[in-house]
């Protein structure tokens, strides 16, 4: 199998370059991450992140043949050769396929990704009805792999100001939570021309999400809440 992989070591290279690899491997049921691990046995300087290797941790997000995805759940048989692998676009490269996610997590933190409830904690738990709980389906599953946010042109232009699809999906996850008491402040935080309204419904986020979530729909629901509050 043929691979073309983005290589950059800022300590040794003056500029990034693409390196060709040839691997003696039958695609079979193997995932792209399996191939990358074998490539690293050939060339131990190849840098990439991985952890759970089953699509839960979100560490091995990368740009695979031009499309963001998780290497560990991308079957090799689904990819056209040479398989071109680049780091996630729009974030600074630390080395090879490893990017600096600081900006991504800064935006995530900015939406207060935790429940705000000022009532005294109850004896057991803060209960929700099954219907209220169902509102969180399609929101809580986000693994913060950054595939969506780094596929979003609005984030490429304004990574410091636009929250990005992942952060906005999480923002709605807490707006939709009946146990949260911070709705007004959360909406205030996003009612800005940059933080939410840079979204122009390009929908790259929906296209690439490895968990098949729909940030665009969540963003639409935040807009609905804002309109309801205003009129």
């Amino acid at each position: 199998m043929k691979f073309r992989i983005y290589r950059y070591n800022p300590e040794a290279d003056s500029a990034p370059y693409m390196q060709d690899y040839d691997l003696d491997l039958q695609a079979g049921d193997a995932m792209l991450l399996d191939a990358l691990m074998q490539l690293r046995q050939q060339d131990d300087s190849l840098g990439f992140r991985k952890s759970c290797r089953e699509g839960v941790c979100g560490s091995d997000a990368m740009n695979i043949n031009g499309r963001n995805g998780l290497a560990c759940i991308t079957p090799l048989s689904s990819l056209k050769q040479p398989i071109e692998i680049r780091p996630l676009p729009g974030l600074p490269v630390i080395r090879d396929l490893i990017v600096d996610m600081t900006q991504f997590f800064k935006q995530y933190h900015s939406i207060k990704p935790y429940l705000v409830n000022n009532d005294p904690p109850p004896e057991t738990e803060r209960l929700q009805s099954p219907k209220d709980r169902a509102e969180l389906d399609g929101l809580y599953e986000c693994i913060l792999c950054a595939c969506c946010t780094t596929a979003c042109p609005s984030f490429w232009w304004n990574p410091d100001k636009f929250v990005g699809p992942s952060g906005l999906l999480q923002a709605y996850r807490f707006l939709a939570d009946t146990r949260d008491q911070d709705t007004a402040a959360r909406l205030d935080n996003l009612e800005d021309p940059y933080r939410l309204f840079r979204c122009h419904t390009i929908m790259n986020c929906v296209d690439v999400c490895p968990k098949e979530l729909n940030p665009t729909e969540a963003i639409g629901k935040i807009k609905d809440m804002m309109v309801k509050r205003m009129v």
Binding site: W157, E191, P193, Y194, R195, H200
Partner: protein, 115 residues
């Protein structure tokens, strides 16, 4: 001044909503005008001037143009916000665009009411 990233201008929702409403106004006007034009058996300068001689048509045309200008303002501002990073130059471009659009409004009134 410290170089912090400042956000929080509270007009995001208003402009987003205005952009949708003005788009609706433009669609209605264009469809109405197209429908009227198709319904005419003959089409000439006299029919055209007669249509625009009424104050109602002039008013709706002005409403259409105002919608177009406001819609264009939000669109152009969005592009400038994406591509012009220096706040002073961005402000200058914003001011120039606003002044140009105000001139267009005056011009549109002059044309429609034949001043």
């Amino acid at each position: 001044m410290v170089n912090r990233i400042v956000t929080g201008a509270h007009y995001g929702l208003r402009d987003w909503l205005v952009q949708r409403v003005t788009a609706g106004v433009m669609v209605l006007y264009v469809l109405g005008l197209a429908g009227w034009a198709l319904w005419q058996p003959a089409f000439g300068y006299d029919i055209w001037t007669e249509l625009f001689s009424g104050d109602l048509m002039r008013s709706f045309s002005l409403l259409f143009l105002l919608s177009l200008f406001y819609h264009a303002w939000i669109g152009v501002r969005d592009i400038v916000m994406d591509y012009v990073k220096l706040a002073s130059i961005r402000l200058l471009i914003h001011v120039l665009v606003i002044l140009a659009l105000i001139m267009y409004v005056i011009w549109a009134v002059q044309i429609l009411w034949g001043l």
